[in-house]
Amino acid sequence: MSVTTAETTGSRVTAALGSFVKARETGILLALAIIVVVTTAKNPNFLFSNDGFRDLLLTPSILLLVAVGQAIVIITRNVDLSVGSVLGLTAYLTGRLFIDIPGIPIIAVFLAGLVFGGLLGLINGALVAFAKVPALVITLGTLYAYRGINVLWTGSDRINASDMPKPFLALGTQSILFIPVLTIIAVVVLIAAGWYMRNLRGGRELYAIGSDPDAANLYGLNVTRRVLVAFVVSGALAGLAGVLYAARYGTVNSQAGSGFELEAVGAAVIGGVAIFGGSGTVWGAAIGAYLLFTINRALPILGVQDFWQRAVVGVLIIGAIVLDRLLALRQSRKLVEARDNE
């Protein structure tokens, strides 16, 4: 039997501070800061030029959205490999909406992207939650199927920047108080997701389901509904990311978003989300997304040819999971020792 912690606020604060410092999220935030500092030292334009700063904040925000959705799914001990295809489909949908419905309000397009993505996610969720088939296989199938539909729909066309209204494209480059609009959108979503996962019952149940699905069933938690919601959210966020993609790049072809799913999983894993679920935060995934992107941009400045980017990403992912494993081993050893010492 362990000793209860003393109830003074002082020691509670110290404990909280201690866990903050040791948190994974702090670690990668620090790593991000270090990289930015080191790279800026080498080339001040990295951070301090107008374009540099904005780009660092802007472009990863698309991956951020996808990574947050992916983190939510991974926390429930599932995975969503279809998000790249969902992003591509909604990006194309965005362009098509503007072309086919002239004068459509921009907010409607945003909503359409969210809803469409959510529906695609619902298909995944229904198959995983009701048919009890592993998410890896289902989302592998929908990755193929959605991308196929995308290519079929696109045909040999392409959405060009000229097809979309200027105000929409402006969103892709505008900033408010030096922070790009798209980043603000992404951060608002992040805060909402983070708040939900930490403070609402539904969010905590997602962690429980990932921590031990059998116990969750025995407990009487509505696992089916929660898993369904997780996939809908992942799809909706990928859909929103598709709209942002169209705003940012202007050009959308049938391969948009290809590979995003693995980057999103990588960002989540680097951010401390355990691949078996039950732990990690959307904040970590978000920082992971930024870290991945920033490293990619920093490498050329630091003298590493940008051809080696993917290799660096791979090393980061492997490093992150090895670190997780070593930490988990140490923690379980300490917990068992603490038990023996009682």
Partner: protein, 548 residues
């Protein structure tokens, strides 16, 4: 010094289990200390409160396809009562628990809660109605904190549905204070001992304000002190007016804790009586439906040379400086309290677990560490403790399971074909009288006793020199138990060296030529058959080694 009641003149194992005898010897599960009033023969279990029973099941039936799990089951739980439910494996106890919990729905019959008819279609519903079930293996969320585990799904909330963490934590601390335990509410539940995990499950039940608490074999993995703590909590819950259902195989605990006992057999309700009005013998007779057969008397064997030699086996924190030998024709028992480290020693000897120093040899040849395949080649076999997870591949067939350990020897020129496997499987399954219709039956569908026979068949097929059996008859019906004991006796008679780990005192005293008592990873005593008594064994199990 009293004689062991299990010498040649003793009539039956049942007589040994009389409460009076038990009070003196009290099995190996609970060490002696200030004897409770129950042990002094004073029945302190108050009569249950009259009025509408908290829970009542009447003529419940439940079938799964062609398999009838419950035919005519009844149960009445009253507030302020701890009610025991006993029966052999397959009697239907776990099905009843699952119906109460809402996991299954009954086919026919009545299910009343506080006098009102209910029909649960989910565990959430039964929880909401005030029923809490504590399973044999606690089901907690390892990554989440103790507090979150207790309140998952029902966390107290503030505005906007925000979880009130401070209140939740306070409530958790309050629950623990009420239970008289100290557990850190903020720590993750991963790494907690089973006993602590069960306390958390009980805290869950109390926070649900459960009127009915079902405990399914809760003491299987607990040490003596932890059992006492659990019983104290159970009694205080009873005194608060709740109804408890206690399922157990251990009669000493049933007689210590409970006031009423219901016996089931083959899915049917047999009898309910007050504990004060019945005896273990009567209960066992009702459970089995016939008189209990005697433990098969041990064959006389010639004990030969030493076959297994273990010297100085050490693994930090698990076992220390373990040395012993087993001779051909001998049955050596490793006795001790649950958690003493016996299974760990066996696994290390066989090679599944590591050890940091010491040696193991068979017939003089060194057995390499961490290499079960090499140990098998040298003639070692281990029938593990967890039959379902370690002994068998549940989804595989009888044939595959039986031949798993000998597959290399069955292969000709490196190739292995089904006819050869089936031939070997047929031979060994029939030699052990495994009851299965076909060789490709999935072993997961066999009864516990037959599953154990498949495991034994698998290992005997390797023609071992040394057989280690860990809890050979746990969770097996009485009939098959006797068969297993006969088997072990015969094997020893044929010259096999047998190391038997058992927590059942009658089994240890009845079967062993020598008893090695393990306490906290060390061997504290080596007792010959002639000197082995429940007292001597138990003393060694609970005290430091006395240097002669």
């Amino acid at each position: 010094m009293t004689e062991s009641p299990l010498d040649e003149n003793s009539a039956s194992v049942v007589e040994f289990c009389q409460p009076e005898t038990l009070k003196r010897f009290n099995g190996l599960a609970t060490p002696p200390h200030a004897p409770s009033k129950a042990r002094q023969g004073i029945n302190v279990n108050t009569a249950p409160t009259p009025g509408a029973p908290a829970l009542e099941l009447r003529t419940i039936s439940k079938a799964f396809g062609a398999v009838v799990a419950l035919a005519n089951a009844s149960l009445t739980l009253r507030r302020g009562s701890i009610h025991a439910l006993v029966g052999e494996n397959g009697a239907g106890k776990s099905t009843i628990v699952k119906i109460i919990a809402g996991l299954y729905q009954r086919d026919t019959g009545d299910f009343d809660l506080d006098g009102e008819s209910v029909n649960f279609t989910s565990t959430a519903q039964s929880k909401a109605a005030g029923i809490a079930v504590i399973y044999q293996e606690p089901t907690l969320f390892p990554d989440l904190s103790v507090t979150e585990n207790i309140f998952m799904g029902r966390q107290p909330t503030l505005s906007l549905g925000r979880i009130d963490r401070r209140l939740m934590r306070q409530q958790a601390l309050g629950l623990f204070a009420r239970l008289g335990v100290r557990i850190d509410p903020d720590r993750p539940t991963q790494g907690l001992s089973i006993a602590d995990q069960q306390i958390i499950e009980i805290a869950k039940a109390i926070s649900l304000d459960a009127t009915v608490l079902v405990m399914d074999e809760p003491t299987a993995a607990l040490s003596g002190v932890e059992v006492d703590r659990l019983f104290a909590v159970a009694r205080s819950l009873r005194d608060e007016g709740r109804a408890l259902l206690f399922i157990s195989h251990r009669f000493d605990e049933v007689f210590d804790l409970c006031d009423t006992v219901t016996v089931m057999r083959d899915g049917e309700y047999i009898d309910t009586s007050a504990i004060a009005d019945t005896t273990v013998e009567q209960i066992v007779r009702r459970m089995v439906g016939r008189d209990v057969t005697t433990l098969f008397p041990k064959e006389e064997t010639t004990i030969g040379a030493e076959v297994l030699r273990v010297d100085g086996l050490t693994e930090a924190g698990v076992f220390h400086d373990v040395s012993f030998g087993v001779r051909s024709g001998e049955i050596v028992a490793l006795a001790g309290l649950v958690g003493a480290g016996r299974s760990e020693i066996a696994r290390a000897v066989f090679g599944v677990d590591p050890y940091s120093s010491g040696t193991v040899s068979i017939g003089g040849a060194r057995v390499p560490k961490r290499n079960p395949a090499a140990a098998m080649r040298l003639g070692l076999a281990l029938v593990p403790e967890d039959r379902r997870k370690q002994g068998l591949v549940l989804e595989s067939s009888v044939a595959r399971n039986t031949t798993m350990a000998i597959r290399r020897s069955l292969a000709g020129f490196g190739l292995l074909f089904s006819p050869a496997e089936n031939r070997a499987a047929r031979e060994w399954a029939s030699r052990l009288e495994v009851k299965a219709a076909t060789l490709d039956t999935e072993v997961g569908t066999l009864s516990g006793g037959n599953q154990q026979k498949v495991v034994l068949a698998k290992w005997l097929a390797t023609n071992p020199k040394v057989l280690i059996v860990d809890e050979p008859t746990r969770g097996i019906d009485v009939g098959t138990k006797a068969e297993v004991h006969r088997l072990l006796s015969r094997l020893a008679g044929q010259g096999m060296a047998i190391l038997m780990i058992s927590s059942e005192l009658p089994e240890v005293l009845g079967m062993a030529d020598r008893v090695l008592v393990v306490r906290e990873g060390r061997i504290t005593a080596e007792i010959d058959r002639a000197d082995a008594t429940a007292e001597s064994v138990m003393f060694a199990a609970t005290h430091e080694e006395v240097v002669a």
